[in-house]
Subunit: 900 residues, 2 copies
């Protein structure tokens, strides 16, 4: 099945192996796992590593696909490797006279909790133990190792509950009247081994295996089996990792950090993973094995203290760490053991770090000459940048959460609870900070959402209305917090047993989903503070580091980054964060102002064209102001303005009071208005009378918007600005829709420019957001100047998923069952939606080589989706302002991975 | 631009021209139009035709594309043709001494009302008129021809209102005190000409053109312009004709049927177009021009009377008709004129006919040896068969309609009005015929719809719930009858000023959309009567003719035809009509029986798996009976059974009474039930929690259905039948959905068959009805045995059109504006939905060469869609029972047009 040997020794020829793998576009760690390839590489670099061998990930995949059966010949290969290892170590596996003990560890390409970790001291049995006592003379040490091995093997390999083994140890400790592990006698430890073996027999119905080779093959089987366990699967789902990578098994000769005070073990980062500072960072424990450090039963000391305790060892360790950083050109996370004064490196891997650390380390390694700018860009994960941009709680002052919802829009918000959009607006007008709490939000809540510090809803998922608008506004938002019992009638809710009244303070963390009681302090991130001019650049190291990375990313990337922004403020923030234009200005939110909504309602409920036109004329002034502000903020940059998109029904008044007001204004009876509202209801509004369908059936509305756009642009032009409006027609499925709307757009534009006596550069384009549009993109492209893929709607229609309905209802179940790895609303579905997008792009470009193609769905700010857009050859992505840096970085990394 | 001359004389070499056109896959009539090519062909066959020439359709397209400008060189070409015509006729255009007069007529590939028809006597002016008086000595005749010409030219060519010219004539008639046109004096007619010219000048601001060539070119321009007029566009939309065919112009020398009693004119069919009988059928008028026959100002006599009046002419005419039928191998619709004892054929074309006539003529022509079986199949339009299958009103007894709605499901129904499904069921139980009248129907009305003779709704379009279910049930159905004002509270409605109480009789015609008061008599069509055994085959000529055509179609077609049927009765009817299996059994309607619905509700509102399973166990027995009946009716034929598809919400009780009943049964409070119902609501249910999404999240429901299917099949097998169940998993978008559902389907099937101790042949397949499924059809095909394209849902998602919402709201506007030619729910959208279907089929077949691919959307019974399915290579189409013959015939015709 595989082109490779089942097993590789650590001292194998990694260069030859890497070259062979490269022909299949695989890397060393694809075959050997991260841990395994690093052990081989360290060996090759002369670093003291306890020798051993790797069973490859290919074997794991064969094991999984073959219905959990080890492939024929594996045991022979492992036997041969053991033979080689015996030669290297000068010891023999299972030989009481000179026994070789092993550690067995999993090691996938990406480090992954949930998989089987480690079995130590494998190869131990009664005879070996007796032989070791003769050899080392330390009976306590030997039986301690033995009892650990039986427990780990029983627990980790065979799945017996660990507590059952702990009881054996506790029983003996009680008998001996000691509480400290290290105080138990050798005889006591020997007894623990016997008791554990009894547990093993009782639980599994068979004797503890004394054959070392049987132990080893069971261990290998357990590692491979753990690849498939639910925790591992769910980890891969959460981290968007594929399920077919497989894990390798690392078999390594044991070294002992617990043979006395000239022994010890530790873990360390080569730099501070929280701040990125260049200091050795980690823990060390004298006379201990690795698990003691992790288990926390004994308190380790800081790694720096090793310098005093064993200066030579420490110096050697620091040298090795430096050489590892030189080799890997990255900050490392290492494990080591000192056995009787000799340093052994057990493991090294790239260390995880915070965003702040990531940008500092990338800057520092660049300065140290270890990496070039591209290397620096590769060292920062785009997703992490979120942490640096959104306002944050001071972690030291953050109280415990009373509930947790879905983290929908990052950032920290605190304020008084309000339950209606109106109250939010009122309170904000009085200078109050408020958090808007709703069952779920609707477009009528927009003004309230804008006025609030943050939004908290009981229902909804990551792409519910609240979430989408929250992200769009850069507003912290927690949705789907089911722990809230909302008592709307009494203006209060309960959560975690506590009752919160309207006016009480709460705080929400949109990055974690946490809901906290009280007014927790928040602040703009440094980068935003500088960008807003509230802090000087030179005062902020993180700002400088961030700016460097962004500049380098911009030098590298070949795809443009625009923003989705509906207001001049959003637009300005996005430009400050590097946006090169607006990819989407929605015009629907603009109609929710007090004076506007009633005129909008008048327009769409009018009985005649004249009446409709009269209402449209009023709205035109407002719209002109909207567009004036945005075009001015984006002076000299393209601004795509999408004509009205949502179903008209969303704008209609639903409560009797508002209906009465509209009735009075329009001379209808309240019953007539109620009827009208009822008649405009749709069974599936997402698939109803909206987008350019409005443009075809009610051209007055679109013409009003177009006139406002060109009026604003002409005025700016006269004032010496350089507005570049780009009119976008949404939801086109049929060529005729685009033809009709494009024709009158041109007519109105020409008319307005002739009246004003100035010429404005503009374009007309269309959203591609329906599968049919992708299939006839060639016809569409001939009629238009740009495509902007609306991947939210395209995902909805390609899957037949209403995001309002499915995210809460069955997408979580789908992820749990492995049907989906991630919501397709979060990261673009490459095989389906992506295939439609690629098909549409190809057809469109073939028919119109000058066609500009971008994406303005929310995927435009998600790194994997950005990478896909780069690979398909889009001209730009567009995303919400705070995601612009993420998109810039992701685009640069995509270019590095797959140069255009 | 075109590869052809602008102009062809009637005596051109049609064979050479046809051969050249064939190389471009064009026919003679593509270039010359239907009328023009027939005139050329008649000329070639030695039939007496007034000579002339054709300006091609290519010129028309150049004219339209060039912004209504005649191409350079056309006038020269026309001038040369006139020269040739002058030679043939021995007269000269505009020469008072021997004038050539012309008729100018449009002639597109398909005959098309709305386009400019005819201008006669072109070439007339004062000098010519005077010359003609000298030549013929008949001043009355000449000035009658002149005044007709000025009127037609002014009206038809220049667009002056015809009534303005009529006034001139009426004025003179009044002055002379006569009422009969033929009594006006020659001087009077001369005066009419002068008055008409004044009108012309007043209306158009210029003199009536006296230059014959100017008249002719204006005429040509007018014909081309009329191709684009709104009536013509809308005709093409209605008849699904492309807009780029263009029309030809036929210029022909005039012959006169109005020069005395040895003159006349007539129209005739070579066979009876109502019955198909082989008798000459038509009208004749002595001393008249063609327009007099059409205008109805004088009453024509039956064509047979010509035999007495002019026996030689009649004999010649009959001979010519016979030779035309021989030549065209079809019944002809001809126009002719007798000028002073000489017969001229003016036009011939294939005659329109009723369905009954179509099948009789096809049979007769076959018997006469004129056509083979394929030829007979080509002579019957599949759409027409509807007329022969649905019950019909006796046309002589049908009263006038009081209102008209959308003709949604053909057939005639009469019965007492009921307003609720319950009343329908009760009344039907007492043997009453009822018509169910609703605002609109929902799945809860199913039982009532089944019990009713017909369904009438106030709202909804051709694919509303009532329409879809009506067609499915073969139930006459009129929807969207907005003229009804329903007063539900008082159990009555008003329509056309009349009030109808519950219990009053009404009648509806689902083929015409008519609503009539009273109990109009209806009867099964003969074919259905024979198929049901209520009439002997030998008693029904139409049955025999129909059966012949169907048999011949079956011999020809290469694509299978199945039916969509949910009951044994439907299945049996479909088999009698030629279905070769079931392509879709829906299982949702089955749950609406009294006992069933409450258990279904219990199942979907249960709090635990145990409770759900208990309810499912009860339903399983019902389902087994359902499947037993259908599989038995379809013994030996494949039966595709679709697992539950609609959103669960549709099954829940919405009124408090029903909610209380469910509460009592389940031990919940009514408020809890109401909450549950509310929680299960979705904003866009069409894109929500339905189809296989239920199969993944509530496997108990699907497993119950699967068990019932295989239980029924095993029992039948034991009883000696040969059931072939095929389990279909709906709404798959993700590979994992299919994997999960397929796995347990196999498990349950194996389990049931093992229990029963018999083996049943079965298949597992999936609906392909979401764009994503089409894009990943290769992955899906590897996991499954068949695809069935659900083009209803695929159309909804490809377009983003909710058919419930868009059909009434904007599709009519789209058709009116030329954005759509026809609703994509009616005839498959080939470029978009069709492209997805073709893509999915290609990917699927490549990945799994044994994949069976069919279609079960409603398009499966629509001829154009059937043709498309044939062309894409599908294995079968599936449609409602009464459309099975239509699909068989359409499939045969598709094979003839494009052999596999």
């Amino acid at each position: 099945m595989s082109n490779y040997d089942y097993v590789y020794m650590f001292d194998c020829d990694t260069e030859a192996l890497a070259a062979k793998l490269a022909e299949e576009s695989r890397e060393l760690k694809d075959l050997l796992g991260g841990k395994g390839s690093n052990l081989c590489l360290m060996t090759g670099n002369g670093i003291p590593v306890p020798q051993g061998f790797v069973v490859t990930t290919d074997v794991c995949n064969e094991y999984v696909e073959g219905g959990h059966k080890l492939p024929d010949g594996l045991e022979d290969a492992v036997g041969q490797a053991i033979g080689r290892l015996e030669e290297i170590a000068g010891k023999k596996f299972g030989d009481p006279g000179n026994p070789l003990l092993l550690s067995v560890r999993s090691g996938a390409k990406f480090s992954m909790p949930g998989m089987m970790d480690t079995v130590l001291n494998l190869g131990m049995n009664d005879e070996v133990a007796a032989g070791m006592v003769k050899l080392f003379g330390d009976e306590r040490f030997v039986y301690d190792a033995y009892r650990r091995f039986v427990m780990m093997f029983g627990d980790v390999v065979m799945g017996v509950e660990r507590s059952k083994f702990d009881e054996c140890f506790n029983k003996v400790k009680a008998e001996e009247g000691v509480s400290d592990d290290t105080k138990v006698s050798a005889a006591g430890l020997k007894k623990v081994v016997e008791l554990e073996k009894e547990v093993y027999r009782a639980e599994l119905g068979e004797d503890f295996p004394s054959d070392p080779m049987e132990q080893l093959m069971d261990g290998v089987r357990a590692v491979f089996g753990s690849w498939d366990n639910p925790r591992a699967i769910s980890y891969r789902n959460i981290h968007k990792l594929p399920h077919d990578l497989g894990t390798a098994v690392n078999v390594q000769m044991m070294v002992f950090g617990n043979m006395g005070d000239d022994c010890g073990t530790g873990v360390a980062f080569t730099r501070d993973p929280a701040t990125g500072e260049k200091v050795m960072y980690g823990d060390y424990l004298v006379n201990a094995q690795g698990e003691d450090v992790v288990a926390g039963t004994r308190t380790p000391v800081a790694i720096s203290e090793l310098e005093d305790a064993m200066p030579e060892i420490y110096a050697e360790f620091v040298d090795i760490c430096d050489s590892l950083e030189d080799f890997y050109r990255n900050m490392q996370d290492v494990e080591f053991t000192v056995e009787k004064g000799k340093l052994w490196m057990l493991q090294t891997s790239d260390g995880k770090r915070t965003a702040a650390a990531a940008i500092k380390i990338a800057n520092d390694l660049h300065e140290e000459g270890l990496i070039d700018k591209a290397g620096a860009v590769k060292l920062v994960e785009p997703d992490q940048l979120d942490q640096l941009l959104h306002p944050q709680f001071d972690i030291s002052k953050k109280p415990e959460a009373v509930g947790t919802g879905v983290a929908a829009s990052p950032g920290a918000a605190a304020g008084k609870v309000v339950f209606t959009a109106e109250h939010a607006v009122e309170a904000a007008a009085e200078g109050e900070r408020v958090v808007l709490v709703r069952h779920e939000t609707s477009p009528e809540d927009i003004a309230g959402m804008a006025a609030a510090q943050g939004i908290l809803t009981v229902f909804g998922g990551k792409t519910s209305h609240a979430a989408v608008v929250g992200r769009q506004m850069g507003k912290p938002c927690v949705v789907g917090c089911g722990a809230i019992e909302l008592d709307f009638a009494n203006a209060r809710f309960t959560i975690g047993g506590q009752t919160v009244q309207e006016g009480d303070y709460i705080s929400i963390d949109g990055a974690s989903g946490e809901v906290m009681l009280g007014d927790v302090e928040t602040a703009d991130s440094e980068i935003i503070a500088v960008r807003k001019g509230n802090m000087k650049p030179e005062e902020s190291a993180v700002y400088t580091q961030f700016t460097n990375i962004m500049d380098w990313a911009d030098d590298i990337r070949t795809m443009g980054v625009r923003t989705n922004a509906d207001t001049p403020d959003d637009a300005a923030l996005a430009v400050a964060l590097g946006a090169e234009g607006i990819g989407l200005t929605r015009t629907e939110h603009m109609f929710f102002g007090e004076d506007r909504i009633i005129n909008f309602q008048r327009m769409i409920t009018s009985d005649s064209d004249e009446e409709m036109q009269a209402a449209a004329d009023v709205l035109e002034q407002y719209q002109k102001d909207d567009f004036y502000g945005i075009l001015k903020a984006m002076d000299g940059m393209p601004v795509i303005i999408r004509l009205l998109d949502p179903p008209l029904h969303e704008f209609l008044p639903h409560d009797p009071e508002d209906q009465a007001e509209l009735a009075e204004m329009t001379g209808k009876t309240p019953a007539q208005v109620a009827d009208l509202v009822e008649n405009m209801k749709e069974s599936n509004p997402m698939l109803g009378h909206r987008g350019c369908r409005l443009g075809v059936t009610f051209p007055i509305i679109y013409k009003m918007q177009i006139r406002a756009i060109f009026d604003a642009a002409c005025q700016l032009k006269k004032e010496g600005f350089n507005p570049i409006p780009e009119v976008m027609i949404p939801l086109v499925s049929l060529e005729g829709e685009l033809r009709i709307c494009t024709e009158y757009t041109k007519d109105v534009a020409a008319e307005v420019m002739a009246e004003a006596g100035v010429e404005v550069d503009y374009m007309i384009g269309t959203m591609i957001e329906l599968p049919r549009a992708c299939m006839v993109a060639d016809n569409i492209a001939k009629m238009t100047e740009f495509f902007s893929f609306g991947t939210n709607d395209l995902t909805q229609t390609a899957f037949g998923f209403s995001r309002d309905d499915v995210e809460g209802k069955f997408i979580p179940a789908y992820i749990a069952q492995g049907v989906l790895q991630i919501s397709p609303f979060e990261s673009i579905d490459i095989n389906g939606v992506g295939a439609l997008l690629a098909h549409g792009t190809k057809l469109g470009r073939e028919a119109n080589p000058n066609l500009e193609v971008g994406i303005c769905g929310e995927h435009g700010g998600e790194p994997k989706s950005v990478e896909f857009c780069h690979n398909v050859g889009l001209d730009y992505v567009s995303c919400s302002p705070l995601r612009v840096p993420i998109a810039r970085l992701a685009a640069a990394r995509a270019e590095l991975a797959n140069p255009r």
